[in-house]
């Protein structure tokens, strides 16, 4: 059975100011004739020129919810609420947040204040819940290797959802639960997922009569141009290196053993 356009939804995760990847993803989504696009938050961070994200989201009518970064910018908080304790990670998180705050207009920060913490909708009769980190906490990291089935089943029960989709960790994964319900971490557009490749990812949900399925879609974009812009903006060389190499160089302390082992650093 082929789903009609009304039964599909594109889900994009953390953009981290990567306007080139966002442009490429939106163009890819248009080519697939998917009408509904949702963004699961964290528009700024890491990349250059944060204000370039907002007109793209508005032009494509992307329904957007707030991530922890957006919440920090909206409320003029002193940091991104990622909760790092490693001194090196904290150093880079501070640089990134200060740059993003300085370069996000007051108008865009006001718009961030209007974003909801979750979005709910139905896809072919199935209840979908979108949020940033987890349904209960905006900055909770849900990794594949540390999230048991029974824990996710409880979320589906407690929050009355057949499908839960999140982002926040920077790595995509999904799980069909024993009950048949679906959990998807949609990954992020902002930076590669620590696999040595430059590509980034988004997800498509397809609603059918008996179930919802999901597919991860790779996005290739002009990573060299992004790295150049990052250097021109004097963002840390370590960030540009990640864009070019596909390996994370910072914020590594939050990775569980299996995810950390799969990376280079």
């Amino acid at each position: 059975m082929t789903a009609s356009t009304s039964e599909q939804a594109a889900l994009i995760g953390g953009i981290y100011s990567n306007h080139l990847a966002l442009e490429a993803a939106l163009s890819d989504i248009s080519s697939r004739n998917i009408g509904s696009i949702y963004c699961l938050g964290d528009l700024g961070a890491f990349g250059p020129h944060p204000d370039r994200i907002y007109p793209l989201l508005k032009a494509h009518s992307v329904k957007t919810l707030a991530g922890n970064y957006d919440d920090s910018l909206a409320r003029d908080l002193p940091d991104c609420q990622c909760g790092y304790t490693d001194p090196r990670d904290n150093h880079f998180a501070r640089l990134s947040y200060q740059y993003t705050y300085r370069n996000t207009s007051e108008e865009n920060r006001s718009w961030l204040r209007t974003l909801p913490e979750e979005i709910r909708f139905e896809l072919a009769g199935h209840k979908v819940l979108l949020c940033h980190g987890s349904p209960r906490r905006q900055n909770e990291f849900l990794w594949d290797s540390t999230t048991p089935d029974h824990f996710l089943e409880k979320f589906c029960d407690d929050y009355q959802a057949d499908i839960i989709a999140v982002t926040h960790t920077g790595m995509k994964w999904k799980r069909r639960l024993p009950s048949g319900r679906l959990f998807v971490n949609v990954g992020v557009l902002g930076r590669p997922e620590n696999d040595g490749s430059r590509r980034v990812w988004y997800a498509v949900l397809r609603g059918m009569k008996d179930r919802v399925t999901s597919e991860f879609i790779p996005v290739n974009y002009d990573a060299e141009r992004l790295a150049l812009e990052m250097r021109e903006e004097k963002l840390p060389e370590e960030f540009a290196e990640t864009i070019e190499s596909g390996w994370w160089t910072t914020c590594l302390e939050i990775l569980p053993e299996k995810e950390r082992r799969a990376g280079r650093y």
């Binding site: 209960r136 290797s145 089935d149």
Partner: protein
Amino acid sequence: MTGHGNETRELAPAQELESLDELWFQVGGTLCNLSCNHCFISCHPGNDTFGFLSIETVRKYLRESEKLGVREYYFTGGEPFLNRDMMQILEETLSIGPATVLTNGTVFTPGSIRRLRDISQASSYSLELRVSIDGYNPQTNDPIRGEGTFKQAIRGVRMLVQAGFLPIITIAQTWPEEDGPGVFDSFVETLKGAGYERPRIKILPTLHLGMEEERTRPYSRSERISAEMMENYDSSQLLCSRGRTVTDRGVAVCPLLIEAPDAHLGETLEEASGAFRLSHGACHTCYVYGAICSNVGGWGVD
């Protein structure tokens, strides 16, 4: 000495169990091959105040934990790998969720490392191994953990790294605050020298309980949590808001307070899900540093 005075209990704020995310198992009891002089539950080879947990006991609580939606499992002691059921316990745990073991790293053999590697590779969930080392050389480590323990623990780390593990080196902060960054850098250098190229490090405050109470000082009466202190405080920083600890005498509120009589809350997880009064000095340490027992969070050198 256990240092568990109860005089402020009636005035202490109560903390609800908000969600049971972390289930801890006192799988090694208070039995340990080492006798560290800062141990907050005074573990040593002859201390059987708390005993090993059997595979049957662990299994019973794992079953209950699935219904309650527990997120991750932690194993501590004493030394967990002295427990003969430990490998089977890890195998069964990793079939349903992620596991972390807090070890002193001194009892590994080539055979046990191979078994751990196989158990880890067979699961889609992470197996974290936290190895306690308290100094970056024998001169700084051994006075605390015992003669020869630095060499033994580094040997354990080397074996784990060679088997593909990335152990979290857990360090109790026994040096003066101002030495922090230098000590951190020295640890990194030591671990790289042992072949651990990308060391993961977690630094913990000491707890003025058990042996540490004698080594340094007991908690003062002012080191307590008041009701005012809980206003606008992120209670998820307190392990008792999201965890419980299984011992061979039932379920306790957290791994730090197993020797305190009021910390024992029931036989089942369900029975032990009530609120707990934050009346102890250790509650104050947990409040100040936050998430000290969990893998992520807590206190870094900043």
